[in-house]
């Protein structure tokens, strides 16, 4: 009704002492704890079927998750593909990504890799070849292979961790980089550890509950 309702006005009401941060975590009003974004690799084993890549990429854009790269490729099983995503998000965001991915029906399993996981990327770098000797010296430095050369250009293939590729691109910069094309990171877990295997959703859900509990309201 136009007049509204009766009752104590807002300023007459008791107010609770606590607060939550942006991520919905209860905080000590004194120590404002927020999670900083971190870079991590998430590997997903998916059904190799049409639409699964768009399901996954659509999920990232729709939910505004920050991704650095997304790669997809076949596995030893023809019916399966592996998607490797590099993301940069705070912990709760990374957790959401994993859970939202698991929710997609064609997704079989999802895992966040350890920081020491094997991560590789391939880049093609086309540079001006005015000074072939110098260019080749740089190429040697980064174990680059020559893929193509013309009187004016040389194109190298470099494989390695992202940092190495970035360093190479920077060093090649002195000759003039004409074009580059990068694949984005692909990754596997080390040793006998499985990357993202066909583990059951129940297990993964339990694994999740455990991680959930590990978030302290404030890191100590």
């Amino acid at each position: 009704m136009r007049r509204g309702l009766e009752g104590p006005a807002p300023e007459e009401r008791p107010t609770p002492a606590g607060r939550r941060n942006e991520q919905g975590i209860r905080i000590d009003p004194e120590v404002e704890a927020t999670h900083e974004p971190r870079r991590t690799v998430i590997s997903a084993l998916v059904e190799h079927e049409p639409g699964v890549l768009s399901d996954v990429s659509g999920l990232f854009s729709r939910r505004q998750f920050n991704i650095e790269s997304l790669t997809v490729g076949p596995t030893t099983n023809d019916d399966r593909a592996r998607i490797t995503v590099v993301v940069e998000e705070p912990d709760p965001g990374i957790d959401q990504i994993k859970k939202q991915l698991r929710k997609l029906v064609p997704v079989i399993s999802v895992r966040e890799l350890e920081p020491d996981a094997m991560q590789r990327e391939l880049a093609l770098i086309k540079v001006d070849a005015d000074d072939p000797a110098q260019v080749n010296a740089v190429a040697d430095m980064y174990d680059a292979t020559t893929v193509d050369s013309s009187p004016e250009t040389a194109t190298f293939e470099i494989t390695g961790a992202r940092q190495k590729i970035e360093a190479a691109i920077e060093t090649f910069g002195q000759f003039g980089v004409r074009e580059i094309s990068r694949t984005g990171t692909t990754a596997l877990a080390r040793g006998t550890e499985e990357t993202a295997a066909a583990l059951s959703a129940t297990e993964s859900a339990t694994e999740q509950t455990k991680t959930q509990q590990e978030y302290p309201a404030d890191d100590d």
Binding site: R2, G4, E22, V105, Q208
Partner: protein
Amino acid sequence: MSERAAKVTPADTDEQHDEQITDSAAPDAAQEVDGDADADGESEPTPVTTGAESVVRALENAGVEYAFGVQGGAIMPVYDALYDSEIYHVTMAHEQGASHAADAYGVVSGEPGVCLATSGPGATNLVTGIADADMDSDPMIALTGQVPTAFVGNDAFQETDTTGVTTPVTKDNTFASDPDRVGTDVSEAFALAREGRPGPTLVDLPKDVTKSETDREPDEPTVPDTYEVQERADEEIVEAAAERIETSERPAMLLGGGVIKGEASEACREFAIEHEIPVITTMPGIGSFPEDHELSMEMAGMHGTGYANMAITHCDTMIAVGTRFDDRLTGGIETFAPDAEIIHVDIDPAEISKNIHADYPLIGDAETVVQQLQEAIENSPQAKKWRAQCQQWKSDYSMAYDAPEDEPLQPQFVVEALDEATDDDTIVTTGVGQHQMWACQYWTYTEPRTWVSSHGLGTMGYGLPAAIGARLAADDDQDVVCFDGDGSFLMTLQELSVAVRENLDITVAVLNNEYIGMVRQWQDAFFEGRHSASDYGWMPEFDKLAEAFGAAGFRIDDYDEVADTIDEALAYDGPSVIDVHIDPQANVYPMVPSGGDNGQFALTEDQL
């Protein structure tokens, strides 16, 4: 008709089928018992001969009784197969109506509602209702016609990338590419719509696939292997949560739509009553706990009761079941239940700590987990003082409203009058706006599956088609009442033709303020009363409009007409519309502005 699609002869795909037939254990039941069936003289289903027949067979196997839709070129083979089926098809006036009717059918019955549409505009018209079902986790299956496979990607007549368009608003969708599998695709979609956290699924059906010959019976409706649902929560966390509840001084339960979908209302009720814990609901959670119970604090959130918002703000332990902590519920995150440790029960792991951090994440089926908690608790919390506080808030922030006889009719009075004139099991559907909020606030809900509304998407026009779907899912002796706004009603009122044709006994009360009322209220509060595009200033006479459709039309202007007119409309056996002219300036309170502090809800405009 220039449907190029209709003229296309399906590519001969037989060879392909033969290859794709696998020896999977398809329960070709109908085929196996075929011989005996004739001998018994029983009407065993005839074996399927086409993709379309296997689609319909899949629906029959799943126990589908009703389907809502509109015909069209690309879906014609499916309709042709429906012609011989026991499934009753309700032709709607608009595909949006079909999707809302199917959605409401799913809400009331708990089984996926079925809607059908042709390709292109038929499919895109369904999208609003699909998105609505997705936001509210309502079980629903949409079957859309598609241009023949050979034309897909060529911008053929009435071609839309339906799976592409609906990916973000479905739980899962499939483009059916194989006549031998199309029935199973539908079975699987049906199972997926219902299992775990329910939601809408869609199967896109190219015309050549449904027209093609096949004798493959669909598999039983089961979810794909990759879809697993956790039933029971981690026992350790259950124990820890139970301990927390036992020692809590200010416990509260927050029941969401998941309680109703998970059939956990009974378990939650027992839990709350045994341990004397005050109960708050979300909007979709309305009906999960009887609002006439002493422990009920009713709905919290933007237009929740003051006492619910006080309880939510001051509790120290929240047992939240089947809720996704939508922003209309939480208000500003910083001030949401800031003293509370949260026990979050949800079947969808992705809802845990999405918006509000869960201190005790309990993933599993709502009923199972609440029973787990019940078993783990040894002593009820000692919360006498808190309960007294909650009762105090109920009287401090009473929802009592002013309704002077000499002033225009107040909408709350109309809602209460209809509630009084009907039984407790009456189903209420609504449009979106002020009238929807009054229907939440002033109707006393006591049973699950009696509140049918568009919560997450907030779709104006939901009310009437939802009443149609609800009517067909409800028991014959249940009343179905739709509260609509004048604006919302105008969006889908053509569905009145369906209600009349099918002789559906529903009562529509249009709370007519000749305004886009909720917008007008916000403009008054936040835009200096500048009524940009919110003042209709003129509305058709809805009672006469109803009569033109063949429904019964009534009109109310004053308090003294309310009771009698309502009785007459309810007594009418068929659809009736009451055009209720309410105070155009009536506003919805309490109100927590977007992102505001729940505890600081406004009771009047100057408190905003």
